[in-house]
Symmetry: C2
Subunit: 437 residues, 2 copies
């Protein structure tokens, strides 16, 4: 059979990796796909040719991305530019031109996926986006196909390598957040502007995609709650460890009777859970289905070749679907487009979790009784109270509370009340706790 | 669209679970697959109707399995009888009748898969077998599709829950193998005849399938080396722990320049590896691809609903392929049938690993020098030597060697020579060590 002809947008880290993997593993890929996959036309503003294997086999390279999506000889367009514009225009144009699309652009899918998938559906083409979530881990495939027999109950993932690297270093070496962030930037793990990673925006993009696929709802990035890790102190990492927990920056999507929870925030999880032991820049996603129980998927969440691995897997999948009528393909969001539900996404105030609270209290009798009364008045049960040693010469000692599950709003009210007590210094540190069982 | 009509062979643990999952999650499954999946005809010798949801919706149930595979109204046959006969005859008949087949039968696929897949190819039907390896974990899909861009370098899996349960209990509680085996049998984790599990036969069936899919070779069960866990002593579990290792019963498939290694045996692995922390009856498979690096897949490897999860996922996949021409389907063994290679499988004597050796030696000067000389003469480098305390009043003390990698035959020669030394009591315990890095 004739090779499939691919148009590539972007020759940066992932674009270059994709060209290299397709070149290096060409024989293996053809043996699997049944036909060769050939990049015939590429566009990039600027690129570093060194280190890209097989760049010379691309017939045409220019800086005109629209020329690629308008090229009538291209079957599949791979979008690896990133960002919203012109990525959105290019993807929509490719679809209009009847081309299938493969993209690694999580922000684009999370914010504009509904529009993109509707256009693809209309035109009878596929948009594949395995590389958009957790890099090389085939988590989209696992959720959409591998676990298709299940009602998915919840998904919890370490889906941003930068924030996991920072939390791992803080725990291993007892270091401060800001100091580790600088190191991550020096190592190239964090961008010059690290906001997307450390404030959970990148993780929220990915969680938006995972949640929609898990529960059969449209993509709703603006309803995904997020909280970053910049307020985590080494002290909390240490106390969490003493209590048998690790602090991880989790993306959690959960189905409840009241609605769907979609949230990214630092979370204490029991250290005996496999996912608590995912360290450094690695990613992992824990998926709980009603039939299968807990399953976990682990691997590199970013990087040149792991991301290219997902892009090329999508290219092979799409190559196989070239001759299928579109209604028999795996639906973009796992469920048939006319079978998506508008299940409500819960506001964070209604979400129930357990809590870790740390406060600085005056070391004298009766103080803890006041705090426990405030919690008890709001039906918040206490799992453990630990009073630590004085940290310095001050009159305050740190006290840690682990509570049972309660609604976020209830806890916020309790914390506001506790912070008004005269013998409490400063703000109460509050980190959510999940058993993931 | 009309529902897909499924013929089911077997209403035991997994068969009953499959009926229940298809019933319980019918709405969700139809939303995903785009059409309903209906079991119209079933056969079972005897079955326990209690606990099977939706049994009454099956139009016809008898004890005649051939009536199911010959039923012209059945589109897909699900084989959950197990064993070789009549499972093989039934699967081949179903294929001849132009029906797609879904099976959880690892022994059948490992031993007769080449014949079955050739027949299916000839007739243009699909045989799906996700449930045959690692229960509910979608590992076949991950390897065949999710990692299709990669040259797979190695696969290492905990793919038998019974043996992992036994090793976990031995470590947690310092108990003897035989004692834990009895408990596993009482709990229903181990069969009355536990040979398949503890001697690695079941794991070898699964590894045969994983290895073929990873490397694009035919299934070759008879060349898969296996060694059980019955000789593992609590002392070795303890010493391994002191050295920072866990003992796991691993199935390992590895591509080397000399050929492919296919082996199931107890293995020391560093305890900091995620897979070393997979406990109890859980399964996990670590896959190392050249582009993606290490990835891990974890979940329940057996059981009614986890296995049904995989069977039903296959049913959904096959339902989608009903209208595809067969050459565009995912190939049975990941690679196109005419693109399988006959890469040599290495005999165990040629396989290189590191080793843990434990021997009982007379506690006197010069003794260790003789042993290290025997190893040194064979270019076997020593990583560590640890002399333990006397275990009892005897004149012997246990000594542990950790060695660097060497060929199995070389180590066997060294051990034979060591066992001839007059100051060594009994046999040398030898367990292979893998870094899995």
């Amino acid at each position: 059979m004739e090779p499939v002809r691919v148009g590539l947008l972007g020759l940066g880290t992932v674009g270059g990796g994709t060209v290299s993997v397709l070149t290096r593993n060409a024989a293996e890929i053809t043996r699997r796909a049944g036909r060769a996959i050939h990049i015939s036309h590429a566009a990039a503003k600027a690129y570093d040719a060194a280190g890209i294997e097989g760049l010379d086999r691309i017939e045409r390279i220019s800086d005109d991305a629209f020329a690629v999506v308008n090229d009538p000889t291209v079957d599949i367009v791979v979008e690896l530019i990133g960002g919203y514009s012109p990525a959105l225009e290019l993807v929509l144009r490719a679809i209009q031109n009847g081309k299938h699309v493969v993209t690694a652009n999580k922000a684009l899918i999370a914010l504009h996926g509904n529009e993109i998938f509707a256009a693809a559906q209309e035109r009878g083409v596929t948009v594949a986006f395995e590389a958009a979530v957790a890099g090389g881990i085939p988590i989209i495939k696992a959720l959409r196909e591998g676990l298709a027999a299940n009602q998915i109950e919840w998904v919890a993932g370490i889906i941003n390598g930068t924030s996991n690297f920072i939390l791992t270093e803080m725990r291993d070496k007892g270091r401060e957040f800001g100091e580790v962030l600088k190191e991550a930037q020096a190592l190239g793990y964090a961008e010059a502007d690290p906001t997307f990673d450390i404030e959970g925006i990148d993780a929220a993009h990915k969680l938006t995609i995972l949640g929609a696929i898990a529960f059969g709802t449209p993509l709703q990035f603006d309803r995904t709650y997020r909280e970053g890790i910049s307020a985590i102190e080494p002290l909390d990492v240490q106390y969490a460890g003493e209590l048998g927990y690790r602090i991880k920056h989790l993306g959690i999507a959960r189905r409840t009777k009241q609605g769907i929870e979609m949230r990214v925030h630092p979370t204490l999880i029991p250290e005996r859970r496999l996912i608590a032991n995912v360290e450094g820049v690695m990613n992992a996603v824990l998926v709980h289905g009603d039939a299968v129980g807990p399953t976990l998927y682990y691997g590199a969440g970013a990087g040149r070749f792991p991301t290219a691995s997902a892009v090329v897997a999508d290219l092979i999948d799409v190559t196989r679907t070239l001759t299928i009528d579109s209604e028999n393909r795996v639906p973009h969001l796992a469920f048939q487009p006319d079978a998506l539900s508008d299940t409500r996404i819960l506001p964070m105030a209604e979400v129930e979790t357990a809590y870790y609270l740390r406060m600085q209290v005056v070391d004298r009798p009766g103080v803890l009784a006041e705090v426990t009364k405030i919690l008890g008045d709001r039906q918040i049960s206490i799992e453990a109270i630990i009073q630590k040693e004085h940290l310095d010469e001050s009159m305050f000692v740190p006290v840690i509370f682990l509570t049972q599950r309660t609604k976020e709003q209830n806890m916020l009210d309790a914390i506001a009340r506790i912070e008004m007590l005269s013998f409490i210094a400063g703000a109460v540190t509050r980190i959510r706790v999940e058993s993931l069982a």
